[in-house]
């Protein structure tokens, strides 16, 4: 894998493009079983993060991820702000010092990030949140020895689809109780787009 600083920045930029494009889709998902702002939040947060990284200069991926984390934390807002913020902080701290991020380092970082999400959100898998994509995707990564971008996207898509069958226990969707079943979780969808963007970048350079 060996993700470079440049590629890390590219990832955030790519994610930003995707969130600008998918803004309405994510907002509509959040409208059905939430308050209808998730796309707006993600588009605002990643726009700011992309601008921040473009303006900065970074020695390591970890440095770039830290600035991304702080910006997301500040600019996404809502429930997803501290969640994505915490997760990116872990991606940064876990890879601190490395010139590039190896696949093993990425696996470990994702595992720590997922744990931090659970802690911050006081949530578990099956609560119908973004954790239902972070969790299964991280579990899948642990048993892999190399990056398979197409398979990543498949696994991610699978995980986000599965949130449809769940009943929400956390976040605003929880107020919809049994009515939340049948609808995809907005945070699960945004997590899918986030890592699909990384998969594409890795694929483009031939992985």
């Amino acid at each position: 894998m060996n993700l470079t600083t440049q590629e890390t920045i590219q990832w955030i930029e790519r994610a930003n493009s995707v969130f600008q494009e998918k803004k309405d889709e994510l907002t509509e998902l959040d409208q059905v079983i939430g308050d209808g702002d998730h796309g707006i939040n993600m588009a605002r947060g990643f726009q700011a993060a992309a601008e921040k990284l473009q303006a900065g200069s970074y020695a390591t991926p970890s440095d770039a991820l830290k600035d991304a984390a702080m910006t997301l934390l500040s600019k996404i807002g809502g429930a997803s702000g501290p969640l994505y913020g915490s997760a990116f902080l872990k991606l940064s701290s876990s890879t601190k010092g490395a010139e590039t991020i190896s696949f093993d380092q990425f696996k470990e970082a994702m595992s720590e990030a997922t744990d931090s999400l659970k802690m911050r959100g006081k949530a578990e898998e099956s609560d119908k949140t973004m954790i239902d994509v972070w969790g299964p995707f991280t579990a899948y990564l642990q048993v892999q020895s190399d990056v398979q971008p197409d398979e990543w996207i498949e696994k991610l898509a699978d995980a986000k689809e599965k949130t449809k069958d769940m009943q929400a226990n956390k976040g605003r969707a929880a107020y919809y109780k049994e009515k939340s079943v049948g609808h995809m979780d907005a945070g699960a969808a945004s997590t899918y787009y986030l890592f699909a963007a990384l998969a594409e970048i890795l694929k483009e350079r031939g992985e």
């Binding site: 209808g36 702002d37 500040s74 807002g77 911050r120 107020y175 919809y176």
Partner: protein, 328 residues
């Protein structure tokens, strides 16, 4: 979407600027934030900080003033502000005696305010928090997010703010605020949806002859969607689940708030209040103080909520204490 705004992405900043422009001697905006703080600081007074997503005006910036909040953090529309902004508010509100955070029980608010509290503690500021969850329309469960914080939050601001003004310690202010949370219950209902500026679509759809009981202040669903009822029937339906909580007993003294969600005329709130007071009298409760108006809104949603607060001598005194906040 008919709104008196400029660009949807500017509404929050322009709103707080409009607030400062209205009360330039009383409040100011912290640089590069949407945090409204009191201009006059009292040294050694416990700071009271609240906030959350915007769209609930006068909550929360309208409650900044002597006898209430020291700082209010305005997030984007219906979106909790990030921890960095909350941290700025805490720093501005602290004058050495620590800060109480008044948080409405939503995942986003709780997480962002808790992160800010951690950051503030790291900077050496003592922070306590209360999480307001007065909405009886939501099932109370530790397994889920639990109950929402709605208009009862205003009573927490008022009591904590008044006590802090007397020079009480953070511990005392925190205890009083917790007591309010224990003794306050609310229930809302809506006649029409609201529209988040950046979204542009109604938060839900109600038929011409429908209302929704138990509606939250962000368009979250309520208990049941049903045929539009008379004001008297609505009053009963708001009161009943509150009384079923077992918090309010015959002979108790209570404060009452009939709160408009934004688009409901004051006339209608008074008509609802008329029946509420009648029913409370029948139950043998003493109404010591009543508030009727728009205190915790949801943009242009039509509807109202009812809040009851059980008063003891301390709470009664603090409720009566003077207060300069323009929204109260």
């Amino acid at each position: 979407m008919k709104k008196l705004i400029n660009h949807p992405s500017d509404v929050v900043l322009e709103m707080v600027q409009g607030i400062v422009a209205a009360y330039p001697n009383e409040v100011e905006l912290l640089p590069d934030t949407t945090v409204i703080v009191r201009k006059q600081k009292t040294n050694g007074k416990v700071g009271i900080v609240s906030g959350g997503g915007s769209g609930h005006e006068p909550a929360h910036a309208g409650y900044v003033g002597k006898g209430m909040l020291d700082a209010a953090v305005a997030g984007e529309a219906f979106t909790s502000p990030g921890p960095d902004q909350v941290l700025e508010a805490i720093k501005a509100a602290d004058s050495g005696a620590g800060v109480l955070l008044v948080i409405k029980n939503y995942s986003g608010d709780v997480m962002n305010f808790e992160m800010a509290a951690e950051l503030a503690e790291a900077e050496g500021i003592t922070v306590e928090k209360v999480i307001v969850n007065d909405d009886v329309a939501v099932e109370d469960s530790t397994y889920t997010t639990g109950r929402r914080g709605i208009a009862g939050t205003i009573f927490v601001h008022k009591i904590a703010g008044a006590l802090a003004e007397t020079g009480a310690s953070l511990q005392e202010v925190h205890a009083a605020a917790e007591k309010v949370v224990q003794q306050v219950r609310s229930m809302g209902m809506a006649l029409s949806p609201c529209i988040v500026p950046g979204n542009g679509k109604p938060s839900f759809v109600l038929g011409d002859n429908e209302m929704e009981m138990g509606m939250g202040i962000h368009g979250e669903p309520g208990l049941e969607r049903e045929e539009l009822k008379s004001a008297d029937e609505v009053a009963e339906k708001l009161l009943q689940p509150i009384l079923e909580e077992g918090v309010f007993k015959t002979g108790d003294h209570v404060a009452v708030m009939v709160n408009g969600l934004g688009a409901t005329p004051l006339m209608e709130l008074y008509i609802v209040n008329r029946k509420i007071q009648e029913l409370l009298k029948e139950k043998g409760l003493h109404m010591t103080k009543t508030y009727v108006g728009n205190y915790m809104t949801a943009f242009e949603m039509a509807g109202c909520s009812l809040t009851l607060l059980r008063l003891d001598d301390q709470l009664y005194e603090l409720l009566q204490a003077p207060c300069d906040a323009p929204g109260f």
